[in-house]
């Protein structure tokens, strides 16, 4: 379980690094976000939610049955749009409004 950082898209704002509950992210010598020990990631996706450039995607490691899908989030006021790229192609978006409680 971990994240993948798109260095080209990263604007170097450091928001991900600030949010990580494990202090695992940092800005490297080129000012881009990096996760030197990706195996320490808990998978909470705090960084994915924070990234304004959508440069961070979340995935499930192959050792826990991950199949290569990628997840990222777009925030729009109280809405979170979760984009999930499926392994064989195709995109599924799920929108959750923070103002709506879970049904379960």
């Amino acid at each position: 379980m971990s994240i993948e950082i798109n260095r080209e898209a990263c604007a170097g704002c450091g928001a991900c690094s600030e949010a990580c509950p494990g202090s695992l992210l940092l800005l490297d010598e080129k000012g881009k976000a990096a996760i030197p020990k990706p195996e320490r990631c808990w998978g909470c996706v705090s960084c994915v939610k924070e990234c304004p450039a959508r440069a961070i995607e979340f995935f499930l490691g192959a050792d826990m049955g991950g199949r290569g899908g990628r997840m990222s989030v777009r925030r729009e006021a109280s809405m979170l749009h979760w984009d999930i790229r499926k392994p064989g192609g195709g995109l599924k978006t799920i929108t959750v409004d923070s103002g709506d409680a879970n049904k379960y």
Binding site: M1, C20, P21, M64
Partner: protein, 559 residues
């Protein structure tokens, strides 16, 4: 050689850990006093602690028709009697108050058409808790009397004549040693994950139930300072969705999914429905060849599929990703379940600091709340808030006018830490040593591979091996302060492992089937209707076990 810069700070009320209990304690303190608060947080309070990804229900609330005593009875039954009735009752009495406060701060809670909260079962409320930490952090930031020191790891208390006077901390990113003086201290630094080999020991080893960043610092600091600890042997083992280790309660309670074995038989009634019995049943079904086990979700509606996908995004997004990338939604495929590795966490079980009704530990002026505080299981998120509230009010009463001089120990602490810094150090060594510790605990102290079983002999072997490993860890070095924090964390885990082993040895019975299977004493014994407490003696390097009589609600316990 890398040098540490000493930074001296002082405050009235130091809170170690800006998670669930800590952040709430800070807010409570400000409602009743204009004195200064300092939150020392290892990460950033915006997303730190257990609730980083969110939480999808409040599991402790007194619903209409129920009373706080009902909650105490439930928790006592679930913990097979080893609870502090006094702590549970004072916690239960505050649950609804803190829930209303969270709603005022901005938490979304599902309501009925008449405006009342919509209950899920007998004790739960449905919420959208994805943003619960940012909500708390936002409220903290509005209080000018609170200072937040992010990315600073507290690793040792400063105690003089059994009275707290502050703590030492090290910067995660910068080479600083903080010497923090305080009139009162709240330890809200959580429980411990990572003592045992996890479900996914490879690349995804941190995909665990409890945050891997909760390393047991809370308990370890207390142990080293001579605080009395309680019921560490009541480990928590979560029953989870396989691989993603996502919660199962939303499936069980939300869509009524039953636990079934591979033959399709509902087995939960066979073993009982306490938290530990649900796990135990699953372990036995597997051992007897009727595994794997599942939550029976096949047959739920498409709408329920979609609602579940959303619900999991608010607390465990990995499960939603799993459902979508595998193309097997819960309506089509039952969800396989498994037990996790054991954790130490006072939010679910009764392990942690031995506290009085004010949540004061046996060290004067040092309070504990949330997962760090023992005796009060099933407190969950709202119970942690209540404990933070109780502790903050008690700390305010305790505060003297004068700071106690923290003494001149800083120089020797600085020298000890600097001796651990070496630019040529192997930064992967600490990971290997951590894995070694987890294997020892797994194999000899009742981990997943041993189906949570252990014996006196195996525990003694574990103790011996953990001691030997500690000696090796004490020789390791780090390249930078981040590496130094990793060394300190592993050291914390190791002493907590030893304390846990001492507790497991002391309880010569099997009370919580599944959570702790003592193969020498496979039955429950009336003789152990008592607390197993411990105190570390640094001079002998041994744990002294103290058996204490149960404390009921209505009784006043004083240290």
């Amino acid at each position: 050689m890398l040098k540490l810069q000493v930074k001296r700070l002082s405050t009235d009320f130091l809170i170690i850990g800006g998670g669930t209990a800590g952040a709430y304690a800070a807010l409570t303190f400000c409602e009743h006093s204009d004195k200064r608060v300092l939150i020392a947080e290892k990460a950033n309070i915006k997303r730190s602690g257990c609730l980083a990804a969110g939480v999808n229900a409040l599991n402790a609330y007194i619903v209409p028709g129920k009373t706080p005593q009902d909650y105490v009875d439930y928790a006592r039954g679930d913990a097979h009697s080893i609870v502090r009735g006094d702590l549970l009752l004072t916690m239960a009495e505050g649950l609804n108050r803190v829930t209303h406060k969270l709603e005022e701060l901005g938490l979304t809670i599902l309501k009925n058409p008449d405006g009342s909260y919509a209950a899920r079962g007998n004790r739960n409320l449905k919420i959208n808790g994805e943003n619960i930490k940012p909500i708390l952090a936002g409220a903290v930031s509005k209080e000018p009397q609170i200072s937040v020191l992010n990315r600073v790891s507290v690793f040792e208390y400063i105690v003089r004549e059994n009275r707290i006077c502050g703590a030492y901390a090290v910067g995660v990113d910068e080479p600083s040693l903080y010497v923090i003086s305080a009139k009162a201290v709240l330890c809200a630094a959580g429980g411990a994950a990572g003592l045992y080999k996890p479900n996914n020991p490879g690349f995804s080893r941190h995909k665990m139930w409890y945050p891997p960043f909760n390393t047991g610092a809370a308990c370890a600091m207390g142990i080293r300072a001579g605080a009395e600890m309680t019921t560490l042997e009541m480990r928590f083992i979560a029953l989870r969705c396989k691989d993603t280790i996502a919660p199962t309660g939303t499936l069980a309670q939300g869509v009524g999914a039953k636990q079934i074995n591979s033959l399709g038989e509902v087995y939960e009634q066979k073993y009982g429905v306490t938290t530990s019995q649900r796990l135990y049943g699953t372990v036995v079904e597997n051992l007897e060849g009727r595994g794997p086990c599942y939550l029976r979700t096949a047959g739920i509606s498409r709408q329920q599929d979609e609602d579940l996908q959303k619900a999991y995004l608010n607390m465990a997004p990995s499960q939603t990703l799993r459902w979508i990338e595998s193309g097997g939604p819960p309506s089509e495929q039952n969800v396989e379940i498994e037990g996790t590795e054991p954790y130490i966490t006072g939010g679910h079980t009764a392990s942690g600091y031995w506290v009085d009704a004010n949540r004061e530990t046996t060290i004067r002026g040092l309070f504990a709340a949330g997962d760090a505080a023992g005796g009060c299981p099933q407190k969950y998120v709202t119970g942690a808030f209540v404990e933070g509230e109780i502790a903050a009010k008690a700390a305010l009463k305790y505060l003297g006018d004068e700071l106690t001089d923290p003494g001149d120990g800083a120089d020797s602490v600085k020298a000890l830490l600097e001796a651990r810094l070496d630019a040529a150090a192997d930064s992967d060594e600490i990971d290997r040593l951590e894995e070694e510790m987890q294997s020892i605990m797994d194999e000899y102290a009742g981990g997943i591979s041993r189906h949570y079983r252990y014996s006196e002999e195996s525990l003694k072997t574990a103790e011996e091996k953990i001691r030997a490993l500690t000696d090796r860890v004490n020789l390791t070095k780090a390249r930078d302060t981040r590496g130094l924090v990793y060394i300190l964390e592993l050291t914390e885990r190791l002493i907590l492992c030893r304390a846990l082993i001492a507790h497991l040895l002391a309880r010569k019975e099997t009370r919580w089937r599944g959570f702790a299977e003592n193969t020498d004493y496979p039955d429950t014994s009336e003789d152990f209707l008592k607390y197993v407490n411990s105190r570390f003696n640094p001079h002998t390097d041994e744990f002294e076990i103290i058996f204490r009589d149960l404390v009921a609600e209505g009784e006043i316990y004083e240290h």
